[in-house]
Amino acid sequence: MRLRKVRRAAVAALALAVVLPVAACGGSSGPSGGGDGDKTLTLWHMEQPPNRVAAFQKVIDAYNATNPEYKVQAQVQDWNQIYTKISSAVQSKTQPDILFTIPDFTTYVRPLGAVRPVTSLVEELDKEHTFGDAAKAAYRDDDQYWAVPLYGMVQMLWYRKDLFAKAGITEAPKTWSQLLDDAKKLTSGNQKGIAVPAGKNLATDQVIYSLMLTGGAGNFFTDSGQVAFDKPQTVAALSLYADLLKQSPSDAGNYSWGEPQAAFNSGAAAMAIEKGQYLAPFEKESGRPASDLGCAPIPQADTGGQPGSIYYSNAAMVLSPDDARAKGAEDFLRFVLKPENYGQFLNAEPGLFLPLTEDGATAPSWTDNEVIKKYQGCVDAMLEQSKTGGLFGFVDGQYVDSIGKVSGQNILAQVVQRVYSNGESPAAAVKWGQQQMQEAVSR
C-alpha cells in the first residue's frame, strides 16, 4: 500500500519534470509574429534616447491612424546587441519586418538571407523625392538596392566662439596645422583646446576617419578589396590625432560620444569633431547664447588635403517573410518619406538627422523646427559637408562586403589607443592596424 503511494508520487514528480521544460519551451513569443492572421508589422530601430523613441512613435501613430492593412509596431533595440539578436531572429524566422540599418551593418545582415531587395521602391521614391547619390550608393550591390535611405549624418568641427574670442582667434581653422595651433592656444588651465575621443568605440572610429578623409587616406581598400591601410597619409592623420589628444582632457582614452560634447558644452574644451547632435542642447547645457556655437568643415591636411567628413545615410531594410507583409512595410516607408511626414521624423533629433531627399530638405515640416531655424547656418554647412562625405568601405564607389568585421572590432579606434595609451609610434600602430584588418577580412 505504502509502496503504491510512493510510486504514485514518483510518477507525478517525473511527469512534472517532463512537462515543465516542455511548457517553458512552448511559450515562444517571437518579435515578429508573422502568422497568417497577424496584421502587425514589427519595426526594429536602434535610436534609444527617449526623445527619438517618442518622435518615431508619433510618425508610426500617424501612419497607423490612416488605417493601413498592416499596422506598424516599433521595438527599440541596442546597437551592441543587434548583431546577435538579428542573427538568431532570422534563424528562428522571427525577424522584424523593418530593420533600421547603416551601410556596414547591412553587409552583415544580408548574408543571413532574409533581406529583400527594395530596388523598385528606391527608384520610385527617387523619382518622387530625389535622393542624393551618396545616400543611395552605400546600399547598392549586385545591381540591387538593399535598404531605403531615411536620414543622413555628417561630422563637423564644432567650436566655441566665445572661447576663440578670448584666445584672440578670429576664425575657424581650415588646415591641420591651424587646427593644432588653435588647440594649443586654447589649452590653458582646466580648459583644453579640443575634446576628441580615444575609447575603443565607434565614436573614435568616426572622428579619426573624418581626419583620414581630409588627409587623403579615406579609401583604405584597393579596387580588388585588399586592405591598403598602411600608407603615409594614414600615418599622418594618426600623428595629428595623437597631437590633438595631447590637447584633450586627460581621460580621453575612455571617451565615446557623450564626453566630448559634455566637455564642449561646459567650456572645458573649446573644439570638438562630431555630428549635428551638438545643436539642440547647446544653449541649455552651456548657458551660452546660440551665437556662441560655431561650426566649420573638417580641417584639411596642409599638403594633399581634400574636403571630407564621415557621412552615411541610415536606412531601413525590409525582412518580411512574405510579399504581402513586405508590401505593408514598403507602404510605411513611402509614408515616412512624404515631405509632410518626413520633417517630423527627422526632428526626432533636429540637426543630427539630415534629410536625404530634395523635397525633404525644403519641407516646412523640417525647416520650421525651432532648432533648425536657430542654427540655419550650421545646418546648411552640414548639408554642404555631406556632399563631400564618405564612409569607410563605401568611398569611391566601393562596396566592401567584409567592412562590418573591421568596424565591428573598432580597429581604427584600437590603432588610436595603441598610440595614445601604449605610446606606440603612429607608423607602428598603422602597421598593426593593417595586419588586423587583413586578418579580419580574410576570415
Partner: protein
C-alpha cells in the same frame, strides 16, 4: 555538520546493512530520484546542453553566431593556444581574480569586524553596509564613471580644489584602468563577503573569547588564534565561489572600458565576448571558452586541494 546522522542508531543500521551486502530495492529510491529529476533535467538543459553545444561549435568554422559551418577538427584550438592575445587576457584575468579576492576579502573582513561591534554606529552600519550590493551593476558603472570624469566628476573637482589640476579618469589610463576596475568591483561586491563573515563570526561561542580574555590574550592575538581559524571553512567557501564569480565577470568591465584602453582590461571573458560578438568568430570563441573552462576547473581543483580547511580533509 559532518554528515553524521542526527537520529541515533540509524547510521549503524545502514552500515550493518551495507556490510551484510543487503541493498534496498531500487523502488525504495524511486521517490528520491523522481524528486531530484526536475533539478537534474534543469541542470542538463541550462548547463549541460550549452556546454556540449560549445564543445561541438569549437570544432567547426562558424563565423557569425548561428551561421552555417563545417567541421574543422582541432584547428581552432591550435589557433587559440598559439594566440598571444589570449594568453595575455588569461594573465589579466589572473590579476583581476587575485586583485578582487584580496581587496574584497580585506574590506569584507574589516567591515565584518566593525559591524560586529555592539555600539550604536556598528548596529546602524549593518544596514547601510549593504548599500553598494543592492545597486545594479549598470548604475555602479555609471556612478564610478561620473565620479572620476575629468569634466564633471566629483573626484577631479575636489582634487582641483586642493590644487591638483588635470586629474583624469583612471578608466582612460591603461596603467590605472585595471586597479580602478578592481576597486569598483570590490566596492560593489564586498557587502556579500562582509555579511557572510559577520554571520559566521556570530556563530563563534562567546565563551571562547571570554576564556581568551581570562588567559590574557589581546585583540590581535584573539583574532589570529580564534576568529581567523574558526572562520576558515567559511573563508574557503567564500574564496572559491567568489573567485569563480569574479573570474567570469564581463558586465562591469565592458560597461566601463569595453576591455580598453588598448586591451588593458581585456580579461578572458571579455576576450571571448569580443571574439564572438565583435569579431564574429563564434567557433574561435567557443574553442577559447573550452580552454578557459579547463583552466578554471584546474584552478578550482588546485584551490580545493591547497586551501581546504584541515578538519574537512
Amino acid at each position: 555538520m559532518s554528515g553524521r546522522s542526527a537520529v541515533p542508531g540509524v547510521q549503524g543500521v545502514a552500515l550493518r546493512a551495507r556490510a551484510a551486502g543487503h541493498r534496498r530495492p531500487w523502488t525504495r529510491h524511486l521517490l528520491g530520484y523522481a524528486l531530484v529529476a526536475p533539478l537534474v533535467l534543469l541542470m542538463v538543459g541550462v548547463i549541460g546542453y550549452p556546454l556540449l553545444n560549445t564543445v561541438l561549435l569549437s570544432f567547426q568554422d562558424q563565423g557569425v553566431v548561428g551561421s552555417n559551418s563545417t567541421y574543422v577538427g582541432f584547428e581552432n584550438y591550435g589557433r587559440a593556444l598559439g594566440d598571444g592575445e589570449f594568453w595575455a587576457a588569461i594573465g589579466r584575468s589572473g590579476i583581476w581574480l587575485v586583485g578582487n579576492l584580496v581587496v574584497q576579502t580585506v574590506i569584507a573582513f574589516v567591515t565584518a569586524l566593525v559591524i560586529g561591534g555592539n555600539g550604536r554606529w556598528a548596529r546602524a552600519s549593518r544596514t547601510w553596509t549593504l548599500f553598494p550590493w543592492v545597486i545594479p551593476t549598470v548604475a555602479v558603472a555609471v556612478i564610478w564613471q561620473w565620479l572620476s570624469n575629468s569634466n564633471y566628476g566629483v573626484v577631479p573637482k575636489a582634487a582641483s580644489a586642493v590644487g591638483i589640476d588635470g586629474l583624469g579618469s583612471p578608466f582612460g589610463d591603461s596603467a590605472l584602468a585595471m586597479p580602478a576596475l578592481i576597486l569598483m568591483n570590490s566596492w560593489h561586491w564586498f557587502p556579500l563577503g562582509a555579511v557572510v563573515i559577520y554571520g559566521a563570526m556570530r556563530t563563534i561561542p562567546g565563551e571562547i573569547y571570554e576564556a581568551a580574555r581570562v588567559d590574557g590574550a589581546n585583540a590581535w592575538r584573539t583574532f589570529w588564534r580564534i576568529t581567523f581559524p574558526l572562520l576558515q571553512p567559511v573563508l574557503f567557501a567564500l574564496g572559491l565561489v567568489g573567485s569563480l564569480w569574479s573570474f567570469n565577470i564581463v558586465d562591469s568591465i565592458y560597461l566601463v572600458t569595453k576591455g580598453g584602453p588598448a586591451d588593458a582590461t581585456t580579461t578572458a571573458p571579455v576576450f571571448i565576448y569580443n571574439k564572438a560578438f565583435n569579431e564574429f568568430q563564434a567557433s574561435d570563441a567557443a574553442a577559447v571558452s573550452v580552454v578557459t573552462i579547463i583552466l578554471l576547473a584546474a584552478l578550482a581543483f588546485f584551490y580545493i586541494r591547497v586551501a581546504r580547511p584541515k578538519e574537512d580533509q
